[in-house]
């Protein structure tokens, strides 16, 4: 056992760190990213303490640490990594996975301490912050040198990861939103899937989709919400459950409704002004909140906040919800009834879904940037896309990968065309609103949306105030 302490060594450390703390002054905790990488690499090389897995120092092989948060994708990327090492025998990719919250804590402290993974899966809500704080390698020179064809990705996905001529990621996958329905409940109410796919929606009365929601909402006496005798205090089956208040982006909650009503978050990538005070948004959010507050066809915010809409849907408490394509597996696996996916209803401006996607980024502190780039390029190539697609957990950013995914879902008899049709439809998608200050906008909008959903404030007033607060950040 080697945890005996050498008091003298500790005392030395203590004194030196005291000096560091005292003399280094304010600068002491701050990390020069490049300097950070060095000790980290030495730490990895320290022979005695190091677990055997990381001892390729004997050979010429380089180990690239690759971080991702979705455990369901891990087997797919491990298969990609194995394929990659076949053609690049001197590069070994080690996949490190941690759940969403821990993942980011670990990446951030890793950047401070010099131990972040070489390549890590990045998210649009997070990457501008890392980029502006000089933590990501600009891969544009690599892209140009190796002639990577950005046109191979689905339109728009590549743009999300660039800013002012620099590029911080190559797209790996994408997601859209669709309606999730409980087939058994639809059948019982006499609603066909075709009817649902052709439904329209508006913010005034919900359109034919609003009628379907009412038809699917049933009280204790078995009366549905279209009937005058419906008792909204004794609902046993809700027609619709939204995923809560949705915060700043409402990705799976309200963004599709709002944008199909003519709302625009802002003027595009890295805009410096939000339009949360748009009456079109207020109208939409009020409709969304009133599903519960006025109509009683949707559960309360309190009901949704705890375990979430997915749980309520899975428990058979609600007939429909809207959710992102990354959740397909959960819905299909967890429900005891038949689950299906339908197109979003047609709003005044058509069908609109947020189009979001993940990409890998290289950390500036990586000691092996060339090898990291090789892996990153492979992970965003048709070869890896086809492998990932064949696992049927996510839609790859390249069409051939999407086809592989569709085949995998088809083999499992799951129809996911509602998501893919949305992605390929002309003007069917809008991009995730990437701007600065995302981490400050979040808390403001969280509280605002909550209070609207709870009926504490009318949407128009609350959103106007919040919009002023958000735009003040950019001043």
């Amino acid at each position: 056992m080697r945890f005996r302490f050498n008091a003298l060594a500790i005392a030395l450390v203590m004194v030196s760190s005291m000096l560091l703390a005292a003399c280094g002054g304010a600068a002491a905790p701050a990390a020069e990213p490049t300097a950070a990488a060095e000790p980290a690499a030495e730490a990895t090389a320290a022979p005695a303490e190091e677990p055997a897995a990381e001892a390729p120092a004997a050979t010429d092989a380089v180990t690239i640490r690759y971080g991702l948060w979705d455990g369901n994708q891990q087997p797919a990327y491990e298969a990609c990594a194995a394929e990659f090492t076949k053609t690049n025998p001197n590069i070994i990719v080690k996949v490190e996975q941690a759940g969403w919250g821990d993942y980011w804590t670990s990446v951030q402290t890793g950047m401070v301490g010099g131990t972040a993974p070489d390549v890590f899966t990045n998210h649009l809500a997070k990457y501008p912050e890392f980029a502006s704080k000089e933590q990501l390698v600009d891969i544009q020179p690599f892209v140009e040198r190796d002639g990577v064809d950005l046109a191979q990705y689905l339109p728009g996905l590549g743009d999300l990861w660039g800013r002012e001529g620099k590029r911080y990621g190559l797209p790996k996958d994408w997601d859209t939103v669709a309606v999730v329905f409980n087939k058994d409940m639809l059948d019982k109410a006499g609603v066909t899937v075709e009817e649902l796919n052709n439904a329209d929606w508006n913010a005034k009365d919900g359109g034919s989709f609003g009628q379907i929601i009412k038809k699917l909402t049933i009280d204790e006496a078995g009366v549905n919400a279209l009937d005058a005798g419906f008792d909204k205090t004794k609902v046993v089956q809700y027609g619709f459950v939204g995923g809560g208040s949705g915060g700043a982006y409402g990705q799976t909650q309200w963004s599709h409704w709002a944008v199909s009503n003519g709302f625009k978050f802002n003027d595009g990538l890295y805009a410096t002004k939000y339009f949360y005070d748009d009456p079109k948004l207020a109208e939409t959010i009020q409709w969304y909140a009133d599903l519960n507050l006025v109509e009683g066809v949707s559960p309360t915010l309190a009901d949704v906040r705890s375990l979430g809409a997915t749980a309520l849907f899975t428990a058979g408490k609600a007939a429909m919800t809207t959710d992102g394509s990354w959740m397909i597996g959960s819905y299909v696996n967890d429900a005891k009834f038949v689950t299906g996916f339908a197109r979003l209803p047609k709003g005044p401006e058509g069908r609109k879904s947020m189009f979001n996607g993940l990409a890998d980024s290289i950390w500036v502190g990586s000691k092996h940037q060339e090898e990291s780039w090789q892996w990153m390029k492979f992970a965003a190539s048709p070869a890896c896309a086809n492998i990932v697609g064949s696992y049927g957990v996510v839609f790859p950013a390249i069409q051939s990968g999407v086809d592989a995914a569709l085949k995998a879902y088809g083999d499992r008899k799951v129809d996911v065309s509602a998501f893919t049709a949305q992605a390929t439809e002309a003007n069917g998608t809008f991009l995730f609103p990437v701007t600065d200050f995302a981490s400050e906008i979040g808390p403001i909008m969280d509280a605002t949306m909550d209070s609207i959903m709870l009926g504490e404030e009318p949407a128009a007033d609350a959103l106007k105030a919040a919009n002023d607060e958000v735009n003040a950040l950019f001043q």
Partner: protein, 300 residues
């Protein structure tokens, strides 16, 4: 004490009330723990279906098998679980090594300090003691980053047992405070008798104070051991490598994998049940010791 007309029959009534209270407390305490076990044995498709059922719904051993790594990752994903299961035995070993070592050091060194604070006279004693106490009040969010930098850069103890153990090996303010308060309440007579016999301070500490404090020491050691067992953030950040994961860190893989996803309840609760077993055993074995020690030392 005032004397009261208290009949002998009154005492059983008190006893009955006491036992009713104890029973209620036990019920309230145990029920949620049972819910953990029950969910561990329930199948994923039924978890939300019959939430009023006290027994496992759709009883299955699959969650436990997944936790113990008896399925391949593809099979686990097909069942709706996460691919990366926890390595239970590796986690158990790491947890045992880390918690045991930490507690041995912490208890002994903290007892030394506590003794000095409680019984010895020296300048700045009370000031220093209060300084120790203040360490409990520093928000961990702030010391986390400097401590992480210390481990990752200056000491380079990432991925080592040392790195995980070190911060609480030599002391925790909690332990020093706890033991000082106990030492304060120990009778002076025995110490003074030993002193008159010419015993030196280390001898008094080892032969009078420590034996007298066995209940306090063992209570502290057990509680700190179990608290250490449940430590999450620090072992997670320092023990990046899979071979360094403790049971509690290993459990986290069953938490939600995506920003909006639900946790893998079955896997999470099966894992929790399994990691609870060693801690219960430890408590029962050493907890009994602690009580027996009270009688053994003849301490009134």
């Amino acid at each position: 004490m005032t004397t009261m007309k208290k009949t002998k029959a009154g005492i059983p009534t008190q006893k009955i009330i006491a036992w009713v209270a104890i029973s209620i407390i036990i019920l309230v305490t145990l029920f949620p723990v049972w819910w953990v076990v029950r969910t561990g044995f329930s199948s994923k498709q039924e978890i939300y279906v019959d939430t009023f059922n006290l027994l496992p719904v759709g009883p299955t051993m699959n969650n436990f098998k997944r936790v113990l790594g008896m399925f391949t990752s593809e099979e686990a994903v097909a069942q709706g679980g996460t691919a990366s299961g926890m390595d239970f035995w590796m986690g158990l070993k790491n947890s045992l090594v880390i918690s045991t070592t930490t507690i041995l050091g912490q208890t002994f060194f903290s007892a030394m300090a506590a003794y000095a604070f409680a019984r010895l006279k020296f300048r700045f004693r009370d000031q220093l003691f209060f300084l120790y106490l203040t360490a409990m009040m520093i928000p961990g969010v702030v010391t986390l980053v400097p401590n992480y930098i210390l481990m990752a850069r200056e000491l380079q103890w990432m991925n080592t047992y040392r790195g995980i153990i070190a911060p609480s090996f030599l002391m925790t303010p909690f332990a020093v405070f706890f033991l000082r308060q106990f030492f304060l309440s120990i009778n002076h007579e025995l110490e003074e008798a030993a002193k008159l016999d010419g015993a030196s301070i280390p001898l008094i500490f080892l032969q009078v104070i420590l034996p007298l404090s066995v209940p306090a020491l063992s209570t502290l050691a057990i509680l700190q051991f179990l608290g250490n067992w449940n430590d999450y953030l620090w072992p997670f950040l320092i023990g990046k490598d899979e071979t360094m994961r403790t049971l509690t860190v290993g459990l986290a893989v069953f938490q939600s994998q995506t920003p909006q996803g639900a946790p893998d309840w079955g896997g999470l609760m099966a894992g929790t049940t399994l990691s609870l077993i060693p801690t219960i055993i430890i408590f029962l074995v050493f907890g009994r010791r602690a009580v027996n020690a009270i009688q053994f030392t003849g301490f009134r």
